[in-house]
């Protein structure tokens, strides 16, 4: 009989080996899934993980996309990870992302078409503020009325989507757009655009912000007393109160921080790759970032790697969709399996598997 035995000390090896193993198992299970769909599993896996980067036919387009997709994922995931470590579950980054984009776009559209160096910085502030404000709703409801932040933040995503649709077809609609939904093209408005900084690299200000967030998150979590308090609150709430950590302050802080980062991600997206506010502006970065945060072990450097990997599955997935005719849902299943295997394998870092004779106890 197999039996789980708690390790006296959590295993550092397994803590970092499980994500790798989870990726491997996802490839196997994904391959079986693709085979069941009647596709060549090896071709599909290669198409997802290898071709976007190294196939001369696709790499020119796909390589820059890696940073474009990874930027928002990393930016959002770093914020989420800090909250997750404190046991504060912000599931609504997608909503904060939308509101951040709306606030940033609103600044740009308000100033259109005047030039001015101050417009883009103002948009950045507005984007961060929008995400922060949207995250303050679950934060205040939790600290005042002890509501569940998981539910409140998640449901606010759907509210944000409705506001997005209303804006895209109403207040923010392009007056010169012949009545089509969607705002002016912000990326073509020089004072407000978030351009590609190095041609062909995919690097834009949002990616820069993501790298800064990784460094900042690392310093905060591992060098600053606040990071210690965050982890203490997540692991042993009673010990945290004993250490003088005020739980309400931490809720406001963590939700606010992750909201602001998600808002920033939204702003950089709308002024750059997405170009404008449209009904289908949000593509699920806020939700995928949850997977990225866990895949990266809630560690900023891990999140950097996980964000790149997840971006790869996005790009490779699209490629496989085009070239092999895989249904678009299959790539979402693929990403879901990754989180599933990761969480299931997580047990190995705290437990070891032993064979034993059965015993009455």
């Amino acid at each position: 009989m197999l039996r789980l035995e708690k390790r006296p000390q959590p295993s550092t090896f397994w803590n970092w080996a499980t994500p790798v193993l989870a990726v491997g198992l996802t490839m196997i299970a994904g391959g079986i899934l693709f085979a069941a769909l009647g596709k060549d599993p090896f071709a599909a896996i290669k198409m997802i993980f290898w071709d976007p980067l190294f196939n001369p036919q696709f790499a020119a387009y796909s390589r820059p996309q890696l940073l474009v997709k990874a930027g928002p994922l990393i930016l959002i995931a770093v914020g989420l990870a800090i909250g997750f470590r404190a046991g504060i579950w912000n599931i609504g980054a997608e909503g904060q992302y939308i509101i951040g984009a709306l606030c940033g776009a609103a600044v740009a559209l308000a100033f259109f078409p005047s030039p001015g160096w101050y417009i883009f910085p103002l948009m950045v502030l507005a984007g961060a503020f929008g995400g922060w404000a949207w995250a303050m709703i679950p934060a205040i409801l939790k600290t005042r009325f002890n509501t569940n932040e998981i539910l409140v933040s998640l449901l606010l995503v759907y509210v944000a989507e409705k506001i997005l649709a209303a804006m895209a077809t109403g207040r923010m609609r392009n007056p010169d757009g012949a009545g089509f939904p969607g705002s002016r093209n912000i990326a073509q408005y020089p004072a407000a655009a978030n351009p590609e900084l190095i041609a062909g690299s995919g690097m834009h200000w949002g990616v820069v912000a993501a790298f800064i967030a990784v460094i900042f998150g690392y310093i905060m979590l591992h060098k600053h007393i606040l990071g210690f308090q965050v982890q203490l609150a997540g692991q042993a709430p009673r010990a945290a109160r004993f250490a003088g950590v005020a739980p309400a302050r931490l809720v406001v802080l963590c939700l606010g921080f992750s909201g602001a980062l998600a808002g920033l991600a939204g702003l950089f997206e709308v002024a750059g790759p997405a170009r404008m506010i449209s009904i289908d502006f949000n593509v699920g970065y806020g939700f995928t970032a949850i997977i990225v945060a866990f895949l990266g072990r809630l560690h900023p450097v891990g999140i950097l790697l996980a964000g790149l990997l997840m971006a790869l599955t996005y790009i490779g997935g699209e490629l496989a969709q085009f070239m092999l005719g895989l249904p678009s849902a299959s790539i979402q299943v693929f990403q879901g399996m990754l989180l599933f295997f990761l969480l299931a394998l997580d047990v190995l870092s705290n437990y070891r598997i032993r064979r034993s004779r059965s015993e009455v106890a």
């Binding site: 000390q9 060098k223 600053h224 007393i225 203490l232 042993a236 004993f242 250490a243």
Partner: protein, 505 residues
């Protein structure tokens, strides 16, 4: 002597990494109260579980009245006539006494008949119980009665009791002992597990001492002193905490008119608590668990806030302050629950040193943690308090209870507190570590600090305290000097009686 009731011969049981029992042999005679003595981890529980059919030994065998006895499950042990009262009760608060008793029986009779039996048995043995009362409304002592009566209804030949007095007041202990003696006179045997040596000396006829899984001594406890028993248990000369004579200084901690609602639905609110502790004084606060100990500690540590004037340190009002502001002023605390409250289980000792030492030890500057300094502080605690661990990088939960407790208390003491408040400082700690902790507390007081020790262990309080007060249902009695206090007076104080209210300091 004739055939013993239960003969244990060469029982050995190993778990991965530890040998819990190694070649343990002893006999329990008919009508005998047999003490099983040993420190935590000596293998008492494993042995008892083997007798009760919860653990199957690797080697050795047992004979029940001369016949081979290997219970594979508790019901087989019960069928033979073994009953056990566990240290932690397995009762449902929402059910009444009779229903709880029925749940623990293999073939319970109809409830009405059972209720009558409970009434009869409980009265016969001097443990009156109302079968219709909800268990949630019972005191710890009464809950234990439910467990005992449940066992007695099975008409056992051998009753195993695991640390039965840890939750009882002295009066309740007396009642329990009368019952146990009555059982003995009926020819029943009792295996009595305890580390309270005085109790064993007054109650038991024989004692078997375990150390590291082996039998290291057999004796008649009535012929030994408590100290001799303790030394058999520990295997070395035991250090007796001691302290030179001293006189109290200024008032360092003052609590007055402290009323506090407990945040927990099952907690006890504090009612008009007043405390005055002088420099160099150790105040012992006794009381059965659940009478407001946790709340009192939280009110002093700053986890629960009170009106500013309700708590003062050296005349400064601090009732409204949070934990770290109080630490800065020199008021340090060590809560009862080691894992999860005093320390974070999954964090390393270095991180746990930072937990309370951050500000007073200056482990943090401008918000940034100085990890080198934090590790240095953790290592200083480990060294000074003889914490057995491979190093400061080990997570707290990997330490044994006694070692972690030494770390937790040491962490506060090394920060040179002006006032130190500890709750259950030696709970579940082996005798040698307990002596070390008590000595450290006394040294601290000798150095001019005011110390408050909240404990359920009366022997401990009487050994180290200068003055004594008792918590009962959230009220604190006036304190009295320990010298000259009789056990009877203490019992009355624990029961909430407080006839002379002017405290002598």
């Amino acid at each position: 002597m004739t055939t013993p009731l239960l003969a244990i011969e060469g029982i050995t049981k190993a778990y991965p990494g530890v040998v819990a029992n190694s070649d343990v042999s002893f006999d329990i005679g008919k009508g005998e109260i047999h003490a099983l003595l040993g420190e935590n981890g000596a293998g008492k529980s494993t042995l008892v579980k083997a007798i009760y059919g919860l653990v199957r030994p690797d080697a050795g065998h047992m004979r029940w009245r001369g016949k081979t006895f290997i219970p594979a499950a508790p019901h087989e042990a019960r069928a033979a006539g073994v009953a056990m009262v566990f240290q932690h009760f397995s009762l449902f608060d929402a059910l009444d006494v009779a229903e709880n008793v029925a749940l623990g029986m293999d073939n319970p009779p109809p409830l009405r008949r059972l209720a009558a039996q409970i009434r009869k048995v409980s009265n016969d043995y001097g443990l009156p119980l109302d079968p219709g009362q909800l268990v949630g409304d019972l005191s710890a002592g009464q809950r234990q009665r439910v467990e005992i009566v449940r066992c007695l209804l099975q008409d056992p030949h051998l009753l195993i009791m695991d640390e039965p007095t840890s939750v009882l007041t002295p009066q309740e202990v007396e009642t329990l002992f009368r019952t146990l003696r009555q059982l003995r006179s009926e020819g029943r045997s009792i295996l009595y597990i305890s580390h309270k040596l005085e109790e064993i000396r007054t109650l038991c006829d024989k004692a078997t001492v375990l150390r590291l899984g082996k039998v290291v001594g057999r004796c008649d406890p009535r012929e030994k002193t408590a100290r001799e028993l303790a030394e058999m248990m520990v295997g070395t000369k035991l250090h007796q905490p001691e302290r030179p004579p001293h006189s109290p200084g200024d008032v360092l901690l003052e609590v007055k008119g402290l009323n506090l609602r407990s945040p927990s639905a099952f907690g006890t609110s504090l009612k008009d608590v007043a405390i005055k502790v002088h420099a160099g004084e150790i105040l012992g606060i006794g009381g059965v668990a659940g009478n407001g100990q946790d709340e009192l500690l939280a009110a002093l540590s700053g986890e629960l806030r009170a009106p500013a004037g309700a708590v003062c340190v050296r005349g400064e009002t601090i009732g409204h302050m949070g934990p770290n502001a109080r630490r800065a002023l020199g008021l340090l605390c060590a809560p009862e629950e080691r894992l999860g409250h005093a320390a974070a289980p999954e964090m390393s000792l270095t991180e746990n040193a930072l937990l309370t030492g951050a500000w007073r030890q200056k482990l943090v500057s401008r918000g940034f943690v100085n990890w080198t300094k934090a590790r240095g502080f953790a290592e200083a605690v480990i060294k000074r308090f003889d914490v057995r661990t491979p190093g400061a990088h080990i997570v707290a939960r990997a330490l044994s209870g006694g070692n972690l407790q030494k770390f937790v208390i040491g962490r506060e003491i090394l920060q040179r507190p002006e006032v130190l408040v500890v709750n259950q400082p030696t709970w579940g700690v082996d005798a040698a570590a307990a002596a070390a902790i008590r000595q450290a507390l006394m040294d601290l007081a000798q150095g001019g600090a005011a110390v408050v020790v909240i404990s359920q262990d009366l022997d401990e309080l009487l050994e180290i305290s200068d003055s004594f007060a008792a918590l009962n249902a959230g009220r604190l009695t006036a304190k009295r000097p320990v010298r000259g206090l009789t056990l009877e007076q203490i019992g009355l104080m624990l029961g909430g009686a407080d006839e002379d209210s002017d405290a002598a300091a």
